[in-house]
Symmetry: D2
Subunit: 335 residues, 4 copies
């Protein structure tokens, strides 16, 4: 059994993580920590009543590390790296949900996140937790940087085409649409039901913090710097991200040939479904699947990919990473 | 032209009120007051950009009264009565959206609202602004108490049957369902999109503050004290209230005869549509109509009524009251 | 391993059933039958791509029975009983999702369903598949009548109070609200998105086919004929039923005492959560839980219960029944 | 008074058109025709009960023309041109909601719509009914081709920038998102509530029939053939289109300078609101406004525009066209 702890389990990714871990046959949840210490987790998430009997605890990372083989940190950025550094020093393995270890370059991090990185030394060596591309590094890593939700959807669609040299590295356009749970659980006017219900909007155009993460990973896969625009939108639904990406083809490859690149790349990936049919978020909701299709239109290829932002875009990916780190089949607890 | 001012126009009822007043051919909006003084109203409600050019002002009630023939107060209870008292002293006429002047009995008010009433002297003489029942009193009143949204839906359905003695006064069951805008514009966890979307719940069972208002008005119409249970529910939609009320028939009147009581009562009421068909909130959304139907089931009659909570349940009713107070046709600006 | 077949897997209950069965460690899905034979099940339900590799087959019940230990019938009423009779003759055990075997009295069935019952002989002996009340009969039954979704929500809340004699058997009022998936997967105008989105309505007042089922089971539990009104409503959300039931208390039992009746009754029931807090459909969505609370208001008690209409109200209950029939723990595959 | 008739008033554009016309002080609705002749229009659209008292009639175009100054045709393409040709021959003026007269080139029409055009002679001379660009032609036209909803949103944002030479004509990317009412009122599986609620999807990538319409109008405005990709998406909401368009800047104009091009172009257009703030569909819902903003990101400009697909994207534009054709102020009946 893998003894697991969760830091910051009071948000939506924490809830989904607990639901997945409860179904995992090789996991024992041993501790939930939070500043809201004292509350039963079912007071925070009534969905969990009758399924888990743990109270939130306010304990230090060293104590937590002593009880756990694996800790998931769902803290906000900066706070998360502080906790992770302590946990790692105390000898436990960690999956970090925050953006803290996703970027290799501390200057890029500090520019986009407007804060000093508490643990910059680990940036160059921490693998990016997208198993479909970096499984080899994840297996033995003490710490894994769980990917952002938007980046996952974009990279899963464009990554293989860049690796294959089938699309140009410049002038990528990534138009993404997300359900509202991506905005977190803190009440704000723009997430107030009568404001965002029956509403669709773009936000953070050209400025969203997931941009450098997408740039870095796609550049790594392309073997060259990529140029891209990333535009997120808010969809009046709970969960799901659909990304429509536009890329220039580098040659006359047909739609079928481009699709074959994706199929071939993901042939051994149990959570990726490449299809001739365009995807829809509902078919991936509450699952760890990523659905992808594409269309050739003139000189461009339009790649449409989708995921559940809370599962494959967060908590499902984290469990997939844990499975790799602890010698479990990738799919355990996730189908 | 009726010169109109609005106090507290930054919420949802304020927005709907302004949209209605802008369409009213005999109204000139001359002032909007708020503690958020300085902002253009279109910064608060982007829907209004290009339609109205007024800034929120932080002026006293005396100054406001000097500029206006009619003021609508959208302030919270207690604060509203303070403002209304000053406005009335300064000689303008007022429609109050709050609960402050709806109840006749100050003790009942102070028990349910847990506050001291700032202007109890006006309680016995202020008409309840439901034109379908109290138009005669509204016409000449300096101050009108605009009804609550839930009470409007319940009274419109049950009132005429009580007046006719067709249903028993005891054991009324009023099961109401409201869209989320009824909860106001202040962000709170239970109105956070991912919490209340795809969710349906009951709240305040037996304790909702609209209960004494429904009791008072139905008792007035019945000519006897009524006994009732009122249960509100939250529906994942922006607007609309549907009330399903259960009452015991006092005799063997048929469904058609009971429906005829409603049809006859509302024959001259331009905003009430009595029908054999069961209503649905969508058919009244964005209108000042109240749709009503009923079914006889065993010894009971089930009365189903619905309105737009922001229009007939608030701002539309307020304009209808203003029309009556200023000698306008009831429907002006409302169709 | 229990070898399982599903008849009529193309609707929403079929989809949810397959998702649950795929997670069940002791189940092997061996056949899916439908008149849409030839299609891969993932063409019908894209959610299932990569999770199950079966085509719909158009085979007879005898052949199906030969391959299966347990068959779930998701056919419409009347057609279902025809299939069940053949399956039972061929020696397999059956869980029937339709209403065909829920009512004991063939005359009541034929009046409400306006058709001749194809297999009336089995009506008196087929248990009603609500494990919280009838587990003893379900264990050894060849055929189980899976309950209706509305009846489940109503009976779970009122049943124990009637058994305890704590509420009067006459004058029960059951006001239920359901998500749209309860209406099935066949496109119709009233389920067309722009018609039922942002809409709330009552339907079938006093005439819904679940009425006699609720009457029968509650009468059985009460040990006396109950009198009730049942009113269903349509909520603009995918899934979930919340039932608000109003009953007269038979004595001065307090809220805590009444709640204790529920807690005591369900103490050993792993899927029932009785709480002081009012339930909300979202907390039961995608689970087999039933959440219940209540409030005393005057002489009445208001019981609020909720379930996921597709899980505890259909497919989850069916798996729970299968578990009982095949000697499995009730919760297997369902947590 | 303008005597108005509507052909095919049973859909969503028909409903919105009637709601607008009922508010128009210079319009008298004299006839509604449909093959569903005999029904009262309020049986088809219960929203209209108490507001209009007309039955659907099944009369010929000649008779209709005799009664009307202006006819709106809401028929499907091909059928609409047949009706329009007869109406025009009979001497009435027509606003056509269908795509029949939007394209100048009959070959393009017949290729994309896969049908023979019933009235090709009028194609070259019928103005495209987008008043912000073609008011001069609309004023005196016997027939106006009311624009498509997606084209309106795209052209309003990109048109002025192309006219100004500020963006390149090739490689335009138009990523549009629409509410479900755009799909019409006929029940289909993909518009069935439990299918499209909580779902977001792309459809018709590179193949949507609005593509040639956008190409034609943008080419006209650019004075050169444009190259573009158009991708529509379905948003789980009733109404609204938001279009995110990506274009290459032709020079180093700043964000402020590009925004100024839009502001200047639309300075006299009462229904266009250009703003530094990104738009959201909800702020245009139920109005004839088009909201536009933009962002410069690297070498590209991202233009975000939005409208209510049923109002500015259909029925509001039609009334705006009628106002121009009949010498009324553009805004009459529309604010």
């Amino acid at each position: 059994m893998i003894r697991v702890g969760v830091i910051g389990a009071t948000g939506y990714t924490g809830l989904e993580l607990l639901k997945l871990l409860l179904r995992h046959p090789e996991v024992q949840i041993v501790a939930l920590t939070s500043r809201q210490a004292g509350q039963h987790i079912a007071e925070v998430h009534p969905q969990l009543a009758g399924r888990i009997d743990l109270h939130l605890e306010n304990i230090g990372q060293a104590e937590l590390a002593g009880r756990c083989d694996c800790v998931f940190s769902c803290l906000p950025h900066a706070a998360s790296a502080e906790a992770c550094a302590e946990l790692l020093s105390a000898g436990t393995r960690v999956v970090d949900f925050s953006a803290d270890y996703r970027l290799n370059d501390v200057d890029v991090y500090e520019k986009w996140y407007a804060t000093t990185h508490p643990d910059p030394a680990r940036l160059p060596t921490t693998p990016y937790g997208l198993p479909e591309f970096f499984a080899a590094d994840i297996v033995s890593a003490p710490l894994v940087a769980n990917p952002g939700c938007y980046p996952t959807s974009a990279i899963m669609g464009l990554g293989p085409l860049l690796q294959a040299g089938a699309i140009a590295t410049d002038d990528l356009i990534i138009d993404s649409k997300s359900g509202v749970s991506g905005g977190g659980r803190t009440p704000k006017l723009n997430f107030h039901f009568p404001e965002c219900n029956e509403n669709f909007s773009a936000y953070g155009v050209g400025k969203h913090r997931h941009t450098p993460e997408i740039v870095q990973i796609l550049s790594t896969l392309a073997g060259a710097d990529v140029g891209l625009i990333f535009t997120p939108h808010l969809v009046p639904m709970d969960r799901g991200i659909l990304t429509t990406a536009y890329a220039k083809r580098t040659d006359a490859r047909s739609e079928a040939q481009l699709l074959e690149i994706l199929k071939s790349k993901y042939a051994e990936c149990p959570f990726v479904r490449v299809s001739e049919n365009l995807p829809a978020t509902k078919y991936t909701a509450h699952t760890n699947f990523c659905d992808i299709s594409l269309r050739v239109v003139g000189e461009r290829v339009v790649v449409v990919s989708c995921i559940d932002n809370l599962i494959k875009g967060a908590s499902g990916a984290a469990v997939q990473n844990m499975n790799l780190m602890f010698g479990q089949p990738q799919t355990r607890g996730l189908l």
